[in-house]
């Protein structure tokens, strides 16, 4: 049994367990057992991956396996990981684990909620381990669909509208994606769906010219590429806590990962043709998201726009097409995943107590719920790139990497993008100043209590992860940059 298949198998077993669970405690038990198992598995995978690499494994993907699934179209269930997928799996496992705790007390239909939640994680894990185009696409869809129900049923505010918008836009993206994937398949001779084999073929330039933007856009919608980002604010604002965490933390990373692994890796010529165009869009994303976040008044909207900006930075760095910038992009995915999950978790907890996310109605929370407030400050500082927390490492790698591209146009874009770090400071500090500091104006809020143990646990886990990445980035950076190499060498001939 392949180690990687466990990543899909465990969630499936969890689904079974949830299905037969009879009360809330059993549901929680299954979730905790499953998600901690996944976390351990991801950690074990990371360790053994590093071990294998140090022992001199030179293959591009390790732990590969392939089982034919639908032979006429050469669809296989093929799995394999490189450094990029390993860190993404680790990220997903952390988020799923903490997400479980963040939704510990979720009330109506707990069992059904966790069923969909687990199905979503199945899709995410499956996506990251797959190396087969179609299998990847399938898992991608598996990850998307539960989102509709999770937001539509357990969300808040205009949840039906948001759920519908999110699902439709992402589905629109995946329609492009499907065409693109078929284009790649036939462009590479229609012999294989396996990425590692397709990359050996040369897809004709004309086909790349047509299909690169389709795949990139398809994944770009998920990666909140301007101007297809508008599902993000509404969707995140309406989603329940853990779903926001998982969505912003992991699902949006599927976009960046896909852009890199499928669009750019398989169609380097297309990337060269379309690179500048998309670079402009991503630069706009970066700056635009940051500026838009400045004037929002809903906590989740602020964070959603900040996600647009940060995820824009991921695609931006990928399009810079240097080894360092691509490493930075992956680091940024990791870092943004962790800190945005932390953010959404905290916002959810604050919202659960105050029942408002409007920053004009909140103030002085530092005195009332010190733990959450401190957590929020840490998340904010991570977001604005405080050294010692993950955001700094990622952003600096991105910027240094982007600057390695000597082209003047790319330089200009880099410099424009760097301004976002100032704007980030503006909106983060604005929120921190408004809601945490000062004196509490609302007498209702004075009665509120600080975080409970499950919330504390989730927050502390995430803070540790953020700080670990920020303090000792060497191993992650090393892990990623080794795996980025073959993809980047495709791009720069």
């Amino acid at each position: 049994m392949n180690l990687l298949s466990l990543f899909v198998l465990i969630p499936l077993l969890m689904l079974l367990g949830l299905w037969i669970a009879r009360n809330v405690n059993q549901v929680r038990g299954v979730m905790v057992a499953g998600s901690s198992l996944l976390l351990i598995l991801a950690a074990y995978l990371t360790v053994s991956y590093i071990g294998l690499r140090q022992a001199g494994a030179t293959e591009e993907m390790l732990f590969t396996d392939s089982i034919s699934w639908y032979a006429p179209l050469h669809i296989c269930y093929s799995v394999g990981v490189d450094g990029i997928s390993v860190v993404m799996l680790l990220l997903s496992a952390i988020i799923v684990f903490t997400g479980t705790f963040a939704s510990w007390k979720l009330k109506p239909l707990t069992k059904e909620y966790f069923l969909w939640f687990t199905l979503l994680s199945t899709g995410v894990f499956g996506f990251f381990i797959s190396t087969d185009l179609f299998t990847m696409f399938m898992f991608y869809e598996v990850a998307l669909i539960p989102m509709y129900l999770l937001i539509g049923v357990w969300g808040s505010g205009r949840k039906e509208y948001a759920a519908m918008k999110l699902t439709l836009m992402l589905m629109g993206g995946s329609a492009f994606l499907l065409i693109g994937i078929l284009g790649i398949y036939y462009g590479a001779g229609g012999e294989t769906m396996n990425i590692l084999e397709i990359v050996q073929q040369k897809i004709p330039t004309e086909m790349q010219r047509i299909f690169f933007p389709m795949v990139f856009l398809g994944f770009g919608v998920l990666g909140a590429l301007f101007p297809f980002h508008t599902w993000s604010p509404d969707g995140h604002a309406s989603a329940p806590t853990a779903v926001s965490m998982l969505h912003a933390g992991v699902l949006m990373k599927l976009g960046g990962y896909g852009c890199f692994r499928i669009a750019m890796y398989l169609m380097p010529t297309g990337a060269a043709i379309w690179g500048d165009f998309f670079l402009v869009l991503t630069t706009i994303s970066v700056v635009y998201g940051a500026f838009s976040a400045v004037v929002q008044t809903d906590l989740k909207y602020i964070n959603a726009y900040s996600s647009v900006s940060h995820c824009g930075l991921v695609l931006f760095a990928l399009l810079m097409m240097t080894r360092v910038s691509a490493t930075g992009a992956i680091l940024q995915m990791l870092s943004h995943g962790l800190m945005t999950a932390l953010f959404f978790a905290l916002i959810g907890m604050i919202y659960g107590r105050t029942h408002t996310r409007d920053i004009r109605q909140l103030s002085g929370l530092m005195k009332i719920m010190p733990f959450l407030a401190v957590g929020y400050v840490i998340a904010g500082l991570a977001n604005l790139g405080l050294p010692g927390l993950s955001g700094f490492v990622a952003e600096m790698t991105v910027f240094v990497g982007s600057f390695q591209n000597p082209d003047l146009f790319h330089r200009t874009c880099t410099i424009i993008a760097t301004t976002s770090i100032v704007i980030t400071a503006v909106y983060i500090l604005r929120v921190v100043g408004k809601i945490l500091y000062g004196t509490c104006q609302n007498p209702e809020h004075l009665k509120l209590t600080d975080a409970t143990w499950d919330e504390r646990f989730a927050v502390i886990c995430l803070i540790i992860a953020v700080a670990e990445l920020g303090l000792a980035p060497y191993w992650v950076s090393h892990l990623i940059s080794g795996s980025v190499e073959p993809i980047i060498s495709q791009l720069i001939h």
Partner: protein, 629 residues
């Protein structure tokens, strides 16, 4: 010198301990942890300095640059990687002494000053964090490490300014400080990026070959780095955050906003000094001009402020301007041929840190005693607070440049360097030095002499502070007294060789005379109970006075830029655009789909007959088409 790692590790450790467990500790224990670790750091720093400066010089007569510790923290490429390490050279060792001394004094002082404050432990935790970051900044082995710690000091400064987080002014001030410096740091970052790319290294000593290749790019990189330095060191027009930063606790102002963090910009320029001299002398001249203008601007604003901490803040800005000028007027690496400014600037940095910390701590005692920052609540305090009075006077004399206090020696060196560069700038700086003497003594007289606010003092009799607050004052006063006689040039000079400070009699005499005149003027105007001259002047030039009091409306300009331009003109329209154009476009597409659905919905009538008719019609049409074509 392996123990130097402890200099960084101890404050970090104390920060972690205090941050994680501090809230559960009694105040005393928390304070003791912070102070003791700082004490150890100070001892280690002195030890380091001692062994460093007593070690043998190299063959060229310079002190060697040591790197006792260095690890690869974040690799980018083969050449580019962020290292974390400790580098010892004369200026970093000098900075170690400055930081650990002032920080230790502030730690001790805070015991008394912050007594009974809520969040005492948090305060010490942040102080430790700041000390750690500042020490990390000065011992940085490469420009990127410097940037890392640069950001960290920014954050600790933010946290400490916002220490009284329930006060709206403190929140605003902390936010402003962070954002303004962040804005400047953007320049620093871009400078580093350019530097890193063209030099292929982040270290301070790029290879000759790369330097030759870089050509025109290097001045840009250095100029942008200076922007970052200007932000931290509150150079005009990025100075606006510093006066507001006085909302923080006074010891914090002494440590961060007077002695250490604000001179980081000066330190940065000094760090890159060889490159400035070699490849970007024009940028260096700009440094000098900006420094001179800032010094003048801040000095004139300081003359009209009424909040004692604000006066001190502007005097800090002005003094940093002096240091920048000193560095900027250098034309070569040789202290005998136009390179004197480097040594002078560093010397002034050293002496200024001591006497400015002293001034702030003294101000802290005064504020502690009268519970206000405003001058009008003071006056005549010399009766109540003798120790504070004497030490404050020493510091004032030092900053005014009266021998034998330390400020005289360092300022004199700066003026000498200025006169070597050009007489114009020399005279300008001399006059600014006079202004310094004037406003400092205005402050001094208004606090300790002048008209006493009897009602207030009767209600609440001012008293001398306890020993844990006065001890740091006395210690720093002693340092201020003797620091001028340190053979500073022996340790620090532009090219590293030993340099004997010798007073230029002409310059020294001029500056003393100017200072004495200014002091006399201040005495005449402010020493007595009534201050007719000052009031008359303020009335006659009310416009000017008002403008100076309002800091020449720089804050308003900045508020205009941020509130109006960024907030109103960029963000609000963008957010509107996002919600009403882009989002509405998506909604429009959804609406189109729906509208189309509604339009064709009647066709889905549920009437089988209609369906069949369409069906049959379709078949007929198809058949016709097939027949005809």
């Amino acid at each position: 010198m392996d123990y130097t790692i402890l200099i960084l590790a101890l404050p970090l450790l104390s920060f972690l301990v205090l941050a994680l467990a501090g809230m559960k500790m009694p105040h005393r224990v928390a304070g003791a942890i912070g102070t003791l670790s700082l004490g150890a750091v100070a001892v280690l720093s002195y030890l380091t300095a001692f062994s460093y400066f007593t070690a043998e010089r190299t063959a060229e007569g310079t002190y060697p640059t040591l790197t006792p510790w260095n690890i690869d923290w974040l690799p980018f490429t083969q050449q580019l990687h962020i290292d974390m390490g400790i580098m010892l050279d004369p200026i970093s060792v000098m900075m170690l002494i400055v930081i650990s001394t002032v920080s230790l004094m502030v730690h001790i002082y805070s015991f008394g000053y912050m007594k009974g404050e809520k969040g005492f432990q948090r305060y010490y935790a942040f102080l430790s964090l700041f000390t750690f970051s500042m020490l990390g900044l000065v011992v940085a082995t490469n420009i990127f490490q410097m940037y890392v710690f640069w950001e960290l000091v920014g954050v600790s400064s933010y946290l400490l300014i916002g220490f009284y987080y329930t006060k709206p002014e403190a929140i605003l001030a902390s936010k402003k400080a962070f954002i303004v410096t962040r804005f400047a740091d953007l320049g620093f970052l871009i400078g580093i990026l350019i530097y890193g790319y063209y030099m292929q290294t982040f270290t301070f000593t790029p290879s000759e070959e790369q330097l030759m290749k870089a050509g025109m790019v290097l001045p840009w990189a250095l100029g942008l780095m200076f922007v970052g330095g200007a932000g931290k060191s509150a150079m005009f027009p990025l100075h606006i955050w510093l006066p507001d930063a006085m909302e923080g606790p006074t010891p914090v102002s002494a440590l961060i906003h007077a002695a250490t963090m604000v001179v980081a910009g000066v330190y940065l320029v000094a760090r890159m000094f060889p490159l400035f001299i070699g490849f970007a002398p024009s940028v260096l001249h700009w440094v000098a001009y900006i420094g001179a203008f800032t010094a003048f601007y801040a000095a004139s604003v300081a003359c009209a402020q009424s909040d004692i901490k604000r006066v001190l803040a502007f005097s800090t800005i002005s003094q940093i301007g002096f240091m920048m000028v000193a560095l900027g007027v250098c034309t070569s690496m040789n202290p005998h041929e136009g390179g004197l400014g480097y040594m002078a600037g560093m010397f002034h940095l050293f002496t200024h840190a001591m006497f400015k910390a002293l001034l702030f701590l003294g101000a802290g005692c005064i504020i502690h005693a009268v519970h206000s920052n405003e001058m009008e609540t003071m006056g005549g305090l010399h009766k109540y607070m003798p120790i504070t009075h004497i030490t404050f006077l020493i510091a004032c004399l030092a900053i005014a440049g009266i021998p034998p206090f330390s400020g005289f020696f360092s300022k004199d060196e700066i003026l000498t360097a200025c006169f070597q560069f050009s007489p114009v700038i020399g005279w300008v700086m001399t006059i600014i030095a006079g202004m310094t003497a004037f406003y400092m003594f205005r402050l001094y007289y208004c606090i300790f002499w002048g008209k006493e606010n009897k009602e207030l003092h009767a209600a609440h009799v001012p008293h001398e502070s306890p020993l844990n607050m006065t001890f740091p004052l006395m210690f720093l006063a002693a340092v201020t007294l003797i620091a001028g006689f340190i053979p500073f040039g022996h340790f620090v000079s532009a090219n590293g060789e030993s340099y004997d400070i010798h007073l230029d009699i002409q310059v020294a005499a001029t500056s003393i005379v100017v200072a004495l005149i200014a002091i006399g003027l201040a005495t005449w105007m402010y020493a007595r109970e009534k201050q007719p001259v000052a009031e008359m002047l303020a009335r006659r030039y009310s416009g000017l006075h008002r403008a100076a009091y309002k800091r020449f409306y720089m804050d308003e300009v900045w508020m205009f830029v941020t509130k109006r331009i960024i907030f109103r003109c960029i963000s609000t329209p963008l957010a509107w655009f996002d919600r009403h154009v882009i989002d509405q476009f998506m909604n429009f597409m959804a609406w189109c789909t729906q509208a189309f659905g509604v339009t064709v919905q009647p066709a889905q009538s549920g009437r089988i007959q209609t369906y069949t008719m369409w069906f049959l019609g379709g078949i007929i049409l198809l058949t016709l088409v097939l027949l005809l074509f």
